[in-house]
Protein backbone atom coordinates (compact mmCIF):
# COMPACT_ATOMS: atom_id res chain seq x y z
CA UNK A 1 0.00 0.00 0.00
CA UNK A 2 2.88 2.32 0.69
CA UNK A 3 4.28 3.95 -2.39
CA UNK A 4 7.22 6.20 -2.84
CA UNK A 5 5.35 9.11 -4.26
CA UNK A 6 7.39 11.93 -2.86
CA UNK A 7 7.90 13.38 -6.31
CA UNK A 8 4.31 12.95 -7.33
CA UNK A 9 2.81 14.60 -4.30
CA UNK A 10 4.63 17.58 -2.96
CA UNK A 11 3.59 19.06 0.38
CA UNK A 12 2.37 22.17 -1.39
CA UNK A 13 -0.22 20.20 -3.35
CA UNK A 14 -1.74 18.64 -0.28
CA UNK A 15 -4.51 20.34 1.59
CA UNK A 16 -3.55 21.49 5.02
CA UNK A 17 -6.30 21.27 7.57
CA UNK A 18 -8.38 24.29 8.37
CA UNK A 19 -7.53 24.80 11.97
CA UNK A 20 -9.80 26.64 14.37
CA UNK A 21 -8.21 29.83 15.67
CA UNK A 22 -8.33 28.59 19.27
CA UNK A 23 -6.02 25.71 18.36
CA UNK A 24 -3.45 27.75 16.49
CA UNK A 25 -1.33 28.29 19.60
CA UNK A 26 -1.26 24.59 20.42
CA UNK A 27 1.61 22.57 18.98
CA UNK A 28 0.80 20.50 15.92
CA UNK A 29 2.28 17.40 17.53
CA UNK A 30 1.27 16.70 21.12
CA UNK A 31 2.41 14.04 23.62
CA UNK A 32 0.17 11.01 23.89
CA UNK A 33 -0.80 9.21 27.07
CA UNK A 34 1.93 6.69 26.24
CA UNK A 35 4.60 9.40 26.50
CA UNK A 36 3.29 10.57 29.86
CA UNK A 37 3.10 6.97 31.02
CA UNK A 38 6.66 6.19 29.96
CA UNK A 39 8.05 9.29 31.69
CA UNK A 40 6.03 8.57 34.83
CA UNK A 41 7.10 4.92 34.97
CA UNK A 42 10.75 5.78 34.32
CA UNK A 43 10.72 8.45 37.03
CA UNK A 44 8.81 6.35 39.56
CA UNK A 45 10.82 3.16 39.10
CA UNK A 46 14.17 4.94 39.06
CA UNK A 47 13.21 7.21 41.99
CA UNK A 48 11.95 4.32 44.12
CA UNK A 49 15.02 2.31 43.22
CA UNK A 50 17.31 5.11 44.32
CA UNK A 51 15.34 5.91 47.50
CA UNK A 52 15.08 2.32 48.69
CA UNK A 53 18.44 1.25 47.29
CA UNK A 54 16.70 -1.26 45.00
CA UNK A 55 18.64 -1.86 41.83
CA UNK A 56 15.92 -4.15 40.45
CA UNK A 57 13.53 -1.19 40.17
CA UNK A 58 16.19 0.83 38.36
CA UNK A 59 16.55 -2.03 35.88
CA UNK A 60 12.78 -1.94 35.27
CA UNK A 61 13.11 1.76 34.42
CA UNK A 62 15.93 1.21 31.93
CA UNK A 63 13.87 0.11 28.85
CA UNK A 64 11.51 3.05 29.32
CA UNK A 65 14.41 5.52 29.52
CA UNK A 66 16.15 3.98 26.50
CA UNK A 67 12.92 3.79 24.51
CA UNK A 68 12.05 7.43 25.22
CA UNK A 69 15.53 8.61 24.35
CA UNK A 70 15.64 6.77 21.01
CA UNK A 71 12.08 7.69 20.01
CA UNK A 72 12.35 11.39 20.84
CA UNK A 73 15.73 12.04 19.23
CA UNK A 74 13.99 13.37 16.11
CA UNK A 75 10.46 14.61 16.21
CA UNK A 76 8.16 15.93 13.49
CA UNK A 77 6.81 19.48 13.45
CA UNK A 78 4.63 19.62 10.35
CA UNK A 79 1.36 17.77 9.78
CA UNK A 80 0.91 15.21 7.03
CA UNK A 81 -0.60 16.47 3.81
CA UNK A 82 -3.73 14.70 2.71
CA UNK A 83 -5.45 14.59 -0.65
CA UNK A 84 -8.61 12.79 -1.69
CA UNK A 85 -9.06 12.31 -5.43
CA UNK A 86 -12.04 10.90 -7.29
CA UNK A 87 -10.93 9.20 -10.47
CA UNK A 88 -14.36 9.26 -12.13
CA UNK A 89 -16.44 12.08 -10.71
CA UNK A 90 -19.32 11.59 -13.18
CA UNK A 91 -20.94 8.23 -13.50
CA UNK A 92 -24.20 6.46 -14.16
CA UNK A 93 -26.01 4.77 -11.32
CA UNK A 94 -24.77 1.21 -10.98
CA UNK A 95 -21.34 2.25 -12.28
CA UNK A 96 -18.01 1.89 -10.53
CA UNK A 97 -16.43 4.55 -8.35
CA UNK A 98 -12.71 4.78 -7.74
CA UNK A 99 -11.12 7.20 -5.33
CA UNK A 100 -7.78 7.37 -3.65
CA UNK A 101 -6.64 8.92 -0.45
CA UNK A 102 -3.01 10.00 -0.47
CA UNK A 103 -1.19 10.90 2.74
CA UNK A 104 2.27 12.39 2.45
CA UNK A 105 4.83 12.49 5.24
CA UNK A 106 6.92 15.64 4.69
CA UNK A 107 9.22 14.94 7.65
CA UNK A 108 12.52 13.14 8.08
CA UNK A 109 11.00 10.91 10.76
CA UNK A 110 8.80 7.87 10.20
CA UNK A 111 5.13 7.85 11.12
CA UNK A 112 4.92 4.80 13.38
CA UNK A 113 1.16 4.67 12.80
CA UNK A 114 -1.15 6.42 10.45
CA UNK A 115 -4.87 5.81 10.74
CA UNK A 116 -7.25 6.97 8.03
CA UNK A 117 -11.00 6.92 7.97
CA UNK A 118 -13.01 7.95 4.94
CA UNK A 119 -16.73 8.54 5.17
CA UNK A 120 -18.62 6.73 2.43
CA UNK A 121 -22.28 7.63 1.86
CA UNK A 122 -25.13 5.15 1.95
CA UNK A 123 -25.58 4.92 -1.81
CA UNK A 124 -21.99 4.03 -2.53
CA UNK A 125 -21.45 0.35 -1.95
CA UNK A 126 -17.77 0.27 -1.09
CA UNK A 127 -15.86 -2.90 -1.86
CA UNK A 128 -12.58 -1.78 -0.33
CA UNK A 129 -11.00 1.29 1.23
CA UNK A 130 -13.87 2.12 3.55
CA UNK A 131 -13.63 2.06 7.33
CA UNK A 132 -10.34 2.61 9.13
CA UNK A 133 -6.97 1.79 7.66
CA UNK A 134 -3.60 1.78 9.39
CA UNK A 135 -0.19 2.14 7.85
CA UNK A 136 3.35 3.21 8.54
CA UNK A 137 4.80 5.97 6.40
CA UNK A 138 8.53 6.26 5.85
CA UNK A 139 10.12 9.73 5.77
CA UNK A 140 9.30 11.84 2.69
CA UNK A 141 7.04 9.25 1.15
CA UNK A 142 3.31 8.87 0.70
CA UNK A 143 0.87 6.10 1.37
CA UNK A 144 -2.22 5.54 -0.74
CA UNK A 145 -5.54 4.03 0.25
CA UNK A 146 -7.59 2.95 -2.75
CA UNK A 147 -11.33 3.28 -2.32
CA UNK A 148 -13.47 1.29 -4.72
CA UNK A 149 -17.15 0.54 -5.02
CA UNK A 150 -20.25 1.16 -7.05
CA UNK A 151 -22.89 3.89 -7.04
CA UNK A 152 -26.22 2.35 -6.18
CA UNK A 153 -28.47 5.32 -6.83
CA UNK A 154 -28.56 8.48 -8.94
CA UNK A 155 -27.69 11.77 -7.28
CA UNK A 156 -24.74 13.64 -5.87
CA UNK A 157 -22.88 11.53 -3.34
CA UNK A 158 -20.12 12.99 -1.19
CA UNK A 159 -17.10 10.78 -0.52
CA UNK A 160 -15.26 11.99 2.54
CA UNK A 161 -14.18 13.94 4.40
CA UNK A 162 -11.19 11.71 5.00
CA UNK A 163 -9.79 12.01 8.50
CA UNK A 164 -6.17 11.17 9.18
CA UNK A 165 -4.49 10.66 12.53
CA UNK A 166 -0.72 10.41 12.46
CA UNK A 167 1.46 9.07 15.25
CA UNK A 168 5.23 9.41 15.34
CA UNK A 169 8.15 8.69 17.68
CA UNK A 170 6.98 5.20 18.56
CA UNK A 171 3.39 6.41 19.08
CA UNK A 172 4.56 8.86 21.74
CA UNK A 173 3.49 11.91 19.73
CA UNK A 174 0.17 12.45 18.04
CA UNK A 175 -0.59 14.94 15.32
CA UNK A 176 -3.75 16.99 15.41
CA UNK A 177 -6.36 15.42 13.11
CA UNK A 178 -6.00 16.35 9.47
CA UNK A 179 -8.91 16.12 7.07
CA UNK A 180 -9.20 16.09 3.30
CA UNK A 181 -12.39 17.80 2.13
CA UNK A 182 -15.16 15.70 0.66
CA UNK A 183 -15.44 15.13 -3.06
CA UNK A 184 -18.67 14.74 -4.99
CA UNK A 185 -19.51 11.78 -7.16
CA UNK A 186 -22.29 12.59 -9.60
CA UNK A 187 -24.36 9.62 -10.68
CA UNK A 188 -26.79 10.19 -13.52
CA UNK A 189 -30.06 8.28 -13.52
CA UNK A 190 -30.26 5.27 -15.77
CA UNK A 191 -32.62 5.86 -18.68
CA UNK A 192 -35.08 3.03 -18.90
CA UNK A 193 -35.84 1.90 -22.46
CA UNK A 194 -38.63 4.13 -23.69
CA UNK A 195 -40.19 4.70 -27.08
CA UNK A 196 -43.32 6.52 -28.15
CA UNK A 197 -44.22 5.93 -31.74
CA UNK A 198 -47.21 8.15 -32.05
CA UNK A 199 -47.32 11.65 -33.46
CA UNK A 200 -47.06 14.79 -31.39
CA UNK A 201 -50.39 16.56 -30.89
CA UNK A 202 -49.11 19.92 -32.05
CA UNK A 203 -45.77 20.66 -33.65
CA UNK A 204 -44.39 24.11 -33.17
CA UNK A 205 -41.07 24.84 -34.85
CA UNK A 206 -40.05 25.34 -38.42
CA UNK A 207 -38.39 22.02 -39.03
CA UNK A 208 -38.20 18.73 -37.25
CA UNK A 209 -39.17 15.12 -37.24
CA UNK A 210 -42.92 15.37 -36.79
CA UNK A 211 -45.44 15.77 -39.55
CA UNK A 212 -47.71 18.71 -38.98
CA UNK A 213 -51.27 19.12 -40.18
CA UNK A 214 -50.17 21.95 -42.41
CA UNK A 215 -49.23 21.33 -46.04
CA UNK A 216 -45.64 22.06 -46.87
CA UNK A 217 -42.30 20.72 -47.96
CA UNK A 218 -42.15 17.58 -45.94
CA UNK A 219 -41.66 13.90 -46.49
CA UNK A 220 -45.06 12.68 -45.30
CA UNK A 221 -47.57 12.09 -48.10
CA UNK A 222 -50.89 13.77 -47.41
CA UNK A 223 -52.57 13.02 -50.74
CA UNK A 224 -52.67 13.73 -54.45
CA UNK A 225 -54.31 16.87 -55.86
CA UNK A 226 -54.59 18.80 -59.09
CA UNK A 227 -51.61 20.75 -60.23
CA UNK A 228 -51.74 24.46 -59.35
CA UNK A 229 -49.51 27.25 -60.53
CA UNK A 230 -46.49 27.45 -58.29
CA UNK A 231 -46.23 23.73 -57.65
CA UNK A 232 -42.81 22.27 -58.23
CA UNK A 233 -42.43 20.07 -61.27
CA UNK A 234 -40.67 17.33 -59.31
CA UNK A 235 -43.81 16.91 -57.25
CA UNK A 236 -45.88 15.82 -60.26
CA UNK A 237 -47.25 12.34 -59.84
CA UNK A 238 -46.79 11.03 -63.36
CA UNK A 239 -48.60 7.78 -62.85
CA UNK A 240 -51.83 9.49 -61.70
CA UNK A 241 -51.40 12.27 -64.28
CA UNK A 242 -51.14 9.72 -67.14
CA UNK A 243 -54.11 7.76 -65.90
CA UNK A 244 -56.36 10.79 -65.44
CA UNK A 245 -54.95 12.78 -68.38
CA UNK A 246 -54.61 15.78 -66.02
CA UNK A 247 -51.58 16.96 -64.10
CA UNK A 248 -51.57 15.87 -60.47
CA UNK A 249 -48.98 16.53 -57.80
CA UNK A 250 -48.12 14.75 -54.58
CA UNK A 251 -49.32 16.79 -51.66
CA UNK A 252 -47.13 16.53 -48.54
CA UNK A 253 -47.31 17.76 -44.98
CA UNK A 254 -44.59 19.97 -43.59
CA UNK A 255 -42.17 18.57 -40.99
CA UNK A 256 -42.17 20.36 -37.65
CA UNK A 257 -40.44 19.90 -34.33
CA UNK A 258 -42.27 20.10 -31.04
CA UNK A 259 -41.65 21.23 -27.52
CA UNK A 260 -42.15 18.78 -24.70
CA UNK A 261 -42.40 20.10 -21.17
CA UNK A 262 -41.64 17.53 -18.50
CA UNK A 263 -43.35 18.71 -15.35
CA UNK A 264 -42.08 16.92 -12.23
CA UNK A 265 -44.42 16.93 -9.26
CA UNK A 266 -42.07 17.01 -6.27
CA UNK A 267 -44.60 17.91 -3.60
CA UNK A 268 -44.58 14.46 -2.01
CA UNK A 269 -42.59 11.26 -2.00
CA UNK A 270 -43.66 7.70 -1.25
CA UNK A 271 -42.03 4.31 -1.16
CA UNK A 272 -38.50 3.45 -0.19
CA UNK A 273 -35.65 3.58 -2.62
CA UNK A 274 -33.65 0.39 -2.94
CA UNK A 275 -31.12 1.73 -5.38
CA UNK A 276 -30.69 0.86 -9.01
CA UNK A 277 -31.35 -2.85 -8.47
CA UNK A 278 -34.00 -2.49 -5.79
CA UNK A 279 -37.41 -0.91 -5.33
CA UNK A 280 -38.13 2.59 -6.60
CA UNK A 281 -39.60 5.48 -4.71
CA UNK A 282 -41.71 8.16 -6.36
CA UNK A 283 -38.62 10.32 -6.64
CA UNK A 284 -36.66 7.53 -8.32
CA UNK A 285 -39.44 6.73 -10.78
CA UNK A 286 -39.92 10.42 -11.60
CA UNK A 287 -36.25 11.08 -12.23
CA UNK A 288 -35.60 7.91 -14.25
CA UNK A 289 -38.79 8.37 -16.29
CA UNK A 290 -37.86 12.00 -16.98
CA UNK A 291 -34.42 10.92 -18.20
CA UNK A 292 -35.98 8.28 -20.45
CA UNK A 293 -38.65 10.54 -21.95
CA UNK A 294 -36.17 13.36 -22.48
CA UNK A 295 -33.72 10.98 -24.13
CA UNK A 296 -36.41 9.74 -26.49
CA UNK A 297 -37.76 13.10 -27.61
CA UNK A 298 -34.35 14.74 -27.84
CA UNK A 299 -33.10 11.91 -30.04
CA UNK A 300 -36.05 12.60 -32.34
CA UNK A 301 -35.06 16.24 -32.67
CA UNK A 302 -37.65 17.81 -30.37
CA UNK A 303 -37.02 20.47 -27.79
CA UNK A 304 -37.48 19.45 -24.17
CA UNK A 305 -37.76 21.61 -21.09
CA UNK A 306 -38.18 20.57 -17.47
CA UNK A 307 -40.06 22.13 -14.60
CA UNK A 308 -39.90 21.02 -10.98
CA UNK A 309 -43.19 21.71 -9.29
CA UNK A 310 -43.97 21.48 -5.60
CA UNK A 311 -42.85 23.54 -2.63
CA UNK A 312 -40.62 25.36 -5.12
CA UNK A 313 -40.65 25.85 -8.88
CA UNK A 314 -37.41 25.21 -10.74
CA UNK A 315 -37.04 25.29 -14.50
CA UNK A 316 -34.67 24.18 -17.18
CA UNK A 317 -35.04 26.06 -20.46
CA UNK A 318 -36.10 24.23 -23.58
CA UNK A 319 -33.36 22.92 -25.78
CA UNK A 320 -32.42 20.12 -28.10
CA UNK A 321 -29.57 17.83 -28.88
CA UNK A 322 -27.16 15.67 -26.94
CA UNK A 323 -25.71 18.54 -24.96
CA UNK A 324 -29.16 19.46 -23.71
CA UNK A 325 -29.72 15.86 -22.67
CA UNK A 326 -26.62 16.08 -20.48
CA UNK A 327 -27.89 19.39 -19.12
CA UNK A 328 -31.16 17.66 -18.21
CA UNK A 329 -29.30 14.84 -16.44
CA UNK A 330 -27.32 17.45 -14.49
CA UNK A 331 -30.51 19.31 -13.66
CA UNK A 332 -32.15 16.10 -12.47
CA UNK A 333 -29.44 15.63 -9.84
CA UNK A 334 -30.82 18.68 -8.08
CA UNK A 335 -34.37 17.38 -7.92
CA UNK A 336 -35.60 17.17 -4.33
CA UNK A 337 -38.92 16.61 -2.66
CA UNK A 338 -40.10 19.97 -1.36
CA UNK A 339 -43.01 19.50 0.94
CA UNK A 340 -45.72 22.03 0.38
CA UNK A 341 -48.42 22.95 -2.05
CA UNK A 342 -47.47 24.17 -5.47
CA UNK A 343 -48.86 27.39 -6.89
CA UNK A 344 -50.53 26.44 -10.20
CA UNK A 345 -51.29 30.06 -11.08
CA UNK A 346 -47.62 30.94 -10.73
CA UNK A 347 -46.69 27.91 -12.75
CA UNK A 348 -48.77 29.09 -15.71
CA UNK A 349 -48.06 32.79 -15.23
CA UNK A 350 -44.29 32.61 -15.43
CA UNK A 351 -44.39 31.31 -19.00
CA UNK A 352 -42.65 28.00 -18.55
CA UNK A 353 -45.49 26.13 -20.23
CA UNK A 354 -45.97 27.24 -23.85
CA UNK A 355 -49.51 26.81 -25.05
CA UNK A 356 -48.51 24.58 -27.97
CA UNK A 357 -46.21 22.30 -25.98
CA UNK A 358 -46.95 18.76 -24.95
CA UNK A 359 -46.91 18.77 -21.17
CA UNK A 360 -46.00 15.44 -19.61
CA UNK A 361 -46.59 15.69 -15.89
CA UNK A 362 -44.95 13.03 -13.76
CA UNK A 363 -46.88 12.88 -10.54
CA UNK A 364 -47.88 10.34 -7.89
CA UNK A 365 -51.22 12.18 -7.56
CA UNK A 366 -50.79 12.41 -3.80
CA UNK A 367 -51.17 16.15 -3.59
CA UNK A 368 -54.35 18.15 -4.29
CA UNK A 369 -52.35 21.03 -5.71
CA UNK A 370 -50.96 18.74 -8.45
CA UNK A 371 -54.50 17.77 -9.41
CA UNK A 372 -55.52 21.44 -9.39
CA UNK A 373 -52.55 22.29 -11.63
CA UNK A 374 -53.56 19.56 -14.05
CA UNK A 375 -57.14 20.82 -14.18
CA UNK A 376 -55.93 24.39 -14.75
CA UNK A 377 -53.65 23.33 -17.58
CA UNK A 378 -56.39 21.27 -19.19
CA UNK A 379 -58.83 24.20 -18.96
CA UNK A 380 -56.27 26.51 -20.59
CA UNK A 381 -56.17 24.24 -23.65
CA UNK A 382 -52.76 22.66 -23.15
CA UNK A 383 -52.08 19.10 -24.15
CA UNK A 384 -51.40 17.35 -20.90
CA UNK A 385 -50.47 13.75 -20.28
CA UNK A 386 -50.08 12.42 -16.77
CA UNK A 387 -47.53 9.74 -15.96
CA UNK A 388 -48.47 8.13 -12.68
CA UNK A 389 -45.23 7.67 -10.74
CA UNK A 390 -46.68 6.02 -7.65
CA UNK A 391 -44.95 2.63 -7.36
CA UNK A 392 -47.52 -0.18 -7.51
CA UNK A 393 -46.17 -1.86 -4.38
CA UNK A 394 -46.41 1.19 -2.14
CA UNK A 395 -48.42 0.48 0.98
CA UNK A 396 -49.16 2.98 3.75
CA UNK A 397 -48.03 1.80 7.19
CA UNK A 398 -50.58 -0.45 8.84
CA UNK A 399 -50.48 0.82 12.42
CA UNK A 400 -54.06 0.25 13.53
CA UNK A 401 -56.85 -2.19 12.69
CA UNK A 402 -58.44 0.58 10.63
CA UNK A 403 -55.39 1.00 8.42
CA UNK A 404 -56.45 -1.52 5.71
CA UNK A 405 -59.85 0.14 5.44
CA UNK A 406 -58.26 3.58 5.35
CA UNK A 407 -55.91 2.41 2.62
CA UNK A 408 -58.82 1.04 0.62
CA UNK A 409 -60.70 4.32 0.93
CA UNK A 410 -57.60 6.22 -0.12
CA UNK A 411 -57.16 4.02 -3.18
CA UNK A 412 -60.82 4.47 -4.14
CA UNK A 413 -60.44 8.21 -3.76
CA UNK A 414 -57.35 8.15 -5.96
CA UNK A 415 -59.13 6.11 -8.64
CA UNK A 416 -61.89 8.69 -8.51
CA UNK A 417 -59.38 11.50 -9.09
CA UNK A 418 -57.90 9.65 -12.06
CA UNK A 419 -61.36 9.13 -13.54
CA UNK A 420 -62.21 12.83 -13.10
CA UNK A 421 -58.96 13.83 -14.81
CA UNK A 422 -59.80 11.58 -17.74
CA UNK A 423 -63.22 13.21 -17.93
CA UNK A 424 -61.47 16.57 -18.23
CA UNK A 425 -59.38 15.27 -21.11
CA UNK A 426 -56.24 14.49 -19.15
CA UNK A 427 -55.11 10.93 -19.79
CA UNK A 428 -53.36 9.20 -16.92
CA UNK A 429 -50.97 6.35 -17.56
CA UNK A 430 -48.76 4.48 -15.12
CA UNK A 431 -45.05 4.50 -15.90
CA UNK A 432 -44.07 1.18 -17.43
CA UNK A 433 -41.13 2.17 -19.59
CA UNK A 434 -41.31 1.23 -23.25
CA UNK A 435 -44.53 2.28 -24.92
CA UNK A 436 -45.94 3.93 -21.79
CA UNK A 437 -47.15 6.97 -23.66
CA UNK A 438 -48.15 5.49 -27.03
CA UNK A 439 -51.82 5.00 -26.25
CA UNK A 440 -52.28 8.33 -24.53
CA UNK A 441 -50.39 10.26 -27.21
CA UNK A 442 -52.70 8.73 -29.81
CA UNK A 443 -55.64 9.85 -27.70
CA UNK A 444 -54.27 13.35 -27.27
CA UNK A 445 -53.52 13.68 -30.98
CA UNK A 446 -57.04 12.57 -31.84
CA UNK A 447 -58.41 14.97 -29.28
CA UNK A 448 -56.37 17.86 -30.67
CA UNK A 449 -57.85 17.13 -34.09
CA UNK A 450 -61.34 17.33 -32.67
CA UNK A 451 -61.36 19.61 -29.64
CA UNK A 452 -64.11 18.94 -27.20
CA UNK A 453 -64.02 15.20 -27.57
CA UNK A 454 -63.97 13.23 -24.35
CA UNK A 455 -61.37 10.55 -23.94
Amino acid sequence: MTANLAMALSPATGQAPDLPKDDEDKPMWAPTRALRRAVAVAATAAGLGVLFGRLDLVVVAVPFIVGLSIALLKRPTRPPTVRLDIERAINAEGGDVDARLMVFNPEDTEYSSLVTRTAVPRWIKARHGYGTYAATVAPNTATVVQIGGSVERWGEHPIGPAHVMAYACDNLLQCRPVAAPMQQVRAYPVSEPFTADDAMPRAGGLSGAHRSRRPGEGGELAGVRHYQPGDRLRRIDWRVSLRTRELHVNHTLSDRDAEVVLLLDMGADAGESGGVKGASSVLDTTVRATASIADHYLSRGDRVSCVEYGGRIRRLRAGGGRRHYLAILDWLLGVRVWQGSGDEERLLRTGGLPSNALVVMLTPLLDDSAVAALATMARSGRFVVVVDTLPPDVRPPHDTPWSPIAERLWRLDRENVVAELREHGVPVVPWTGTGSLDQVLRDVTRMSAARGAVI
Binding site: R37, A43, L51, L55, V66, L72, T77
Partner: protein, 186 residues
Protein backbone atom coordinates in the same frame (compact mmCIF):
# COMPACT_ATOMS: atom_id res chain seq x y z
CA UNK B 1 -43.53 -11.86 19.36
CA UNK B 2 -42.77 -11.14 15.71
CA UNK B 3 -41.23 -7.81 16.66
CA UNK B 4 -38.98 -9.54 19.22
CA UNK B 5 -37.79 -12.04 16.62
CA UNK B 6 -37.02 -9.17 14.24
CA UNK B 7 -35.13 -7.37 17.01
CA UNK B 8 -32.99 -10.38 17.87
CA UNK B 9 -32.45 -11.22 14.21
CA UNK B 10 -31.22 -7.69 13.60
CA UNK B 11 -28.97 -7.89 16.66
CA UNK B 12 -27.56 -11.19 15.46
CA UNK B 13 -26.95 -9.71 12.02
CA UNK B 14 -25.16 -6.72 13.53
CA UNK B 15 -23.06 -9.04 15.69
CA UNK B 16 -22.12 -11.11 12.68
CA UNK B 17 -21.19 -7.98 10.73
CA UNK B 18 -19.03 -6.80 13.66
CA UNK B 19 -17.23 -10.15 13.81
CA UNK B 20 -16.67 -10.02 10.04
CA UNK B 21 -15.09 -6.59 10.33
CA UNK B 22 -12.57 -7.65 13.01
CA UNK B 23 -8.98 -7.45 11.87
CA UNK B 24 -6.75 -10.30 13.09
CA UNK B 25 -3.66 -8.12 13.43
CA UNK B 26 -5.48 -5.42 15.40
CA UNK B 27 -6.91 -8.17 17.61
CA UNK B 28 -3.41 -9.63 17.97
CA UNK B 29 -2.20 -6.32 19.42
CA UNK B 30 -4.93 -6.53 22.07
CA UNK B 31 -3.92 -10.08 22.85
CA UNK B 32 -0.32 -8.88 23.22
CA UNK B 33 -1.46 -6.17 25.66
CA UNK B 34 -3.19 -8.81 27.76
CA UNK B 35 -0.45 -11.44 27.57
CA UNK B 36 2.48 -9.14 28.37
CA UNK B 37 0.61 -7.50 31.26
CA UNK B 38 -0.54 -10.76 32.83
CA UNK B 39 2.89 -12.37 32.42
CA UNK B 40 4.69 -9.36 33.93
CA UNK B 41 2.46 -9.51 37.00
CA UNK B 42 2.83 -13.27 37.15
CA UNK B 43 6.65 -13.20 37.04
CA UNK B 44 7.01 -10.35 39.52
CA UNK B 45 4.65 -11.86 42.11
CA UNK B 46 5.71 -15.49 42.25
CA UNK B 47 6.02 -15.20 46.04
CA UNK B 48 2.23 -14.55 46.27
CA UNK B 49 1.39 -18.10 45.22
CA UNK B 50 0.01 -19.38 41.91
CA UNK B 51 -3.71 -18.70 42.35
CA UNK B 52 -3.38 -15.27 43.87
CA UNK B 53 -0.89 -14.02 41.32
CA UNK B 54 -2.92 -15.53 38.46
CA UNK B 55 -6.09 -13.83 39.67
CA UNK B 56 -4.26 -10.53 40.12
CA UNK B 57 -2.60 -10.78 36.72
CA UNK B 58 -5.81 -11.61 34.87
CA UNK B 59 -7.81 -8.93 36.69
CA UNK B 60 -5.30 -6.15 36.14
CA UNK B 61 -4.46 -7.11 32.56
CA UNK B 62 -8.06 -7.27 31.40
CA UNK B 63 -8.83 -3.56 31.53
CA UNK B 64 -5.93 -2.27 29.40
CA UNK B 65 -6.87 -4.93 26.85
CA UNK B 66 -10.42 -3.69 26.61
CA UNK B 67 -9.65 0.02 27.07
CA UNK B 68 -6.09 0.67 25.98
CA UNK B 69 -6.77 4.41 25.76
CA UNK B 70 -7.54 4.65 29.48
CA UNK B 71 -5.16 4.80 32.47
CA UNK B 72 -5.26 1.02 32.91
CA UNK B 73 -1.91 0.22 31.31
CA UNK B 74 -0.26 2.71 33.68
CA UNK B 75 -2.11 1.11 36.58
CA UNK B 76 -0.86 -2.34 35.60
CA UNK B 77 2.75 -1.13 35.56
CA UNK B 78 2.31 0.62 38.92
CA UNK B 79 0.79 -2.57 40.41
CA UNK B 80 3.71 -4.55 39.04
CA UNK B 81 6.20 -2.11 40.59
CA UNK B 82 4.34 -2.39 43.89
CA UNK B 83 4.46 -6.19 43.76
CA UNK B 84 8.18 -6.03 43.03
CA UNK B 85 8.75 -3.53 45.83
CA UNK B 86 6.91 -5.68 48.39
CA UNK B 87 8.57 -8.88 47.28
CA UNK B 88 12.09 -7.89 48.25
CA UNK B 89 15.01 -7.24 45.97
CA UNK B 90 15.45 -9.56 43.00
CA UNK B 91 19.14 -9.87 42.38
CA UNK B 92 19.06 -12.44 39.60
CA UNK B 93 19.40 -10.52 36.32
CA UNK B 94 17.86 -13.39 34.32
CA UNK B 95 14.70 -13.18 36.43
CA UNK B 96 14.58 -9.39 36.60
CA UNK B 97 15.16 -8.36 33.02
CA UNK B 98 12.27 -10.42 31.54
CA UNK B 99 9.92 -8.57 33.89
CA UNK B 100 11.31 -5.21 32.72
CA UNK B 101 11.07 -6.33 29.10
CA UNK B 102 7.47 -7.53 29.52
CA UNK B 103 6.46 -4.25 31.17
CA UNK B 104 8.00 -2.27 28.32
CA UNK B 105 6.36 -4.55 25.74
CA UNK B 106 3.03 -4.07 27.52
CA UNK B 107 3.49 -0.31 27.38
CA UNK B 108 4.38 -0.46 23.67
CA UNK B 109 1.49 -2.76 22.79
CA UNK B 110 -0.96 -0.55 24.70
CA UNK B 111 0.36 2.55 22.89
CA UNK B 112 -0.15 0.77 19.56
CA UNK B 113 -3.58 -0.55 20.53
CA UNK B 114 -4.74 3.02 21.20
CA UNK B 115 -4.19 3.84 17.54
CA UNK B 116 -5.96 0.74 16.22
CA UNK B 117 -9.62 -0.08 16.57
CA UNK B 118 -10.41 -3.76 16.42
CA UNK B 119 -11.84 -3.30 12.91
CA UNK B 120 -8.93 -1.27 11.58
CA UNK B 121 -7.35 -2.87 8.56
CA UNK B 122 -3.75 -3.26 9.74
CA UNK B 123 -1.02 -4.32 7.34
CA UNK B 124 1.82 -6.42 8.81
CA UNK B 125 4.24 -3.47 8.28
CA UNK B 126 2.74 -1.71 11.28
CA UNK B 127 3.41 -4.63 13.60
CA UNK B 128 6.81 -5.37 12.10
CA UNK B 129 7.82 -1.77 12.76
CA UNK B 130 6.59 -2.02 16.34
CA UNK B 131 8.50 -5.26 16.90
CA UNK B 132 11.65 -3.82 15.34
CA UNK B 133 11.62 -0.69 17.50
CA UNK B 134 10.80 -2.63 20.66
CA UNK B 135 13.51 -5.19 19.90
CA UNK B 136 16.18 -2.53 19.42
CA UNK B 137 15.18 -0.80 22.65
CA UNK B 138 15.22 -4.04 24.63
CA UNK B 139 18.59 -5.05 23.21
CA UNK B 140 20.20 -1.78 24.29
CA UNK B 141 18.36 -1.96 27.61
CA UNK B 142 19.63 -5.49 28.24
CA UNK B 143 23.23 -4.32 27.86
CA UNK B 144 22.63 -1.32 30.10
CA UNK B 145 20.78 -3.42 32.68
CA UNK B 146 23.62 -5.91 32.73
CA UNK B 147 25.99 -3.04 33.46
CA UNK B 148 23.68 -1.79 36.21
CA UNK B 149 23.61 -5.22 37.81
CA UNK B 150 27.33 -4.84 38.40
CA UNK B 151 26.81 -1.52 40.21
CA UNK B 152 26.35 -2.88 43.79
CA UNK B 153 29.96 -4.08 43.71
CA UNK B 154 31.18 -0.66 42.50
CA UNK B 155 29.18 1.28 45.08
CA UNK B 156 29.96 -1.00 48.02
CA UNK B 157 32.83 1.30 48.96
CA UNK B 158 30.70 4.47 48.80
CA UNK B 159 28.30 5.72 51.48
CA UNK B 160 24.67 4.83 50.74
CA UNK B 161 23.61 8.46 51.38
CA UNK B 162 25.91 9.74 48.66
CA UNK B 163 24.64 7.09 46.25
CA UNK B 164 21.03 8.06 47.03
CA UNK B 165 21.76 11.76 46.51
CA UNK B 166 23.53 11.16 43.22
CA UNK B 167 20.73 8.85 42.09
CA UNK B 168 18.00 11.33 42.96
CA UNK B 169 19.73 14.12 41.09
CA UNK B 170 20.16 11.78 38.12
CA UNK B 171 16.47 10.79 38.20
CA UNK B 172 15.25 14.39 38.44
CA UNK B 173 17.57 15.44 35.65
CA UNK B 174 16.44 12.52 33.52
CA UNK B 175 12.77 13.32 33.99
CA UNK B 176 13.39 16.95 33.10
CA UNK B 177 15.27 15.97 29.94
CA UNK B 178 12.61 13.46 28.85
CA UNK B 179 9.79 15.92 29.47
CA UNK B 180 11.61 18.61 27.51
CA UNK B 181 12.20 16.17 24.64
CA UNK B 182 8.51 15.37 24.51
CA UNK B 183 7.41 19.01 24.54
CA UNK B 184 10.01 20.78 22.50
CA UNK B 185 8.95 22.38 19.23
CA UNK B 186 11.77 20.93 17.18
Amino acid sequence: MGANIDYYTERARQGRAWVDRLDPIALGVRVAVFATGALAIGLSGTYLGFWRVTALGLAVALMPTLRPAGPWATLLIVVCLGVLLMGGETENFLTLFPIAALLYAHHQAAAQAVTLRTDTYTPPDVIMGLLRRTGVTLLISAILAAVFSLLPGVFQRTSSLVVAAIGLVAVVGLVCVLTAMGRRKR
